[in-house]
Subunit: 243 residues, 2 copies
Amino acid sequence: MRVLLTLSYDGTDFCGYQVQPNGRSVEQVLNDAIFALTGERVKSVSSGRTDSGVHAYAQTVHFDTNSTIPAKNFALALNPLLPSDVKVLKSKKVSGDFHARYGAKSKTYRYSFYVSQTENPMFSRYKSLIKQMPNVEKMKECCKVIEGTHDFKCFMASGSSVKDTTRTVYSVKITKRGSFLDITVKGNGFLYNMVRIIAGTLLAVGENKLLSGDVARMIETGDRPVQAKTAEARGLALIEVKY
Amino acid sequence: MRVLLTLSYDGTDFCGYQVQPNGRSVEQVLNDAIFALTGERVKSVSSGRTDSGVHAYAQTVHFDTNSTIPAKNFALALNPLLPSDVKVLKSKKVSGDFHARYGAKSKTYRYSFYVSQTENPMFSRYKSLIKQMPNVEKMKECCKVIEGTHDFKCFMASGSSVKDTTRTVYSVKITKRGSFLDITVKGNGFLYNMVRIIAGTLLAVGENKLLSGDVARMIETGDRPVQAKTAEARGLALIEVKY
């Protein structure tokens, strides 16, 4: 049977989702727990990798098992075998042709900034520090430039080998609450580092280092100006995957 | 000169605020940073101790120094010498008779519950897990029983040697947002474990294990029923100290 898990993890102490030769990955920790429970070395498939330091409120992962444990009980059974920074929120049986990555209709990420002169340990694991509140109205205006179906080549980290760089961004939303500023991005899929580059680009717009027109041109030409930086990993979290 | 620091710390990996022979304490880490900066072994005085696992958004600490560093620069100068789980948010000069503990007019703590069937690593450092949302109206009703000047002996951990157990609780507020339930308690001072016992008692009321009348009787008689448990440390944070 094929089982779908919804995972939450604090990415701080992981080298990322994907197995690495010399690192503690979410995938490895999960596969080890499944092995401890079922005795099977499964190949689990996630909705997508997350980088080192990136968090997930609801990552989705499927795997095949011959275990007789009812699918919905996997959450309860795996959690005692998992470390405190990764837990299974729920588990269910899915059809044999369900695929956690290829079947995803949309993914939502949130990037979180904390505005302060000083790091605050109560926020620093999950939010990126910026010293001044940027111009939120300018950022909101620029969201409309990013939304839609575009070639997002310029929002992809260099070194990525992906050929088709066209993606649809359904929405980009900015939310300000006190000293916190969140950017929530929903799309049909994302290129490597795309959300972190969107966050860094919108921040540059809010800091008057770029104009919305520069971002429109960036998408048109595929050239990324130096001001459009990749925001750091800790501020990013995968919020939802829809099928 | 006497310097007042406002500290934030994630209490997870500390044995508590106070120096312990075999543990990593906030006080020790802070004193070591002050020594590294000034060459002085100071005796710092906090507004009060916090237990192992208890967090602070704004703990206050004073100390005396002969350093010529301007008081307001201590925050910036100490932070690179402190680990990532404790930082100085601000520093200022205070008069020689200012006292971080005895001068405190009020202290505010927040106790945070997360309601879910499963631990979520993104919340588990700072919120205590409960499986069902308690009856918030009953809890709110009981807040009025706790507010006021009372002998809070029954809200003190056994083993504490404090003689005068009368305290004034200015307010107890319950806030529910989705799956999160916060109890915010403001008082002129708190006995050992008092806020955690208030949180555990209010939870028992919300779970129909105690009535408001039982809590009133608990305060009158000084006897704590077994249902009024001490809520776990990780859900508690010191929010504010006023002078």
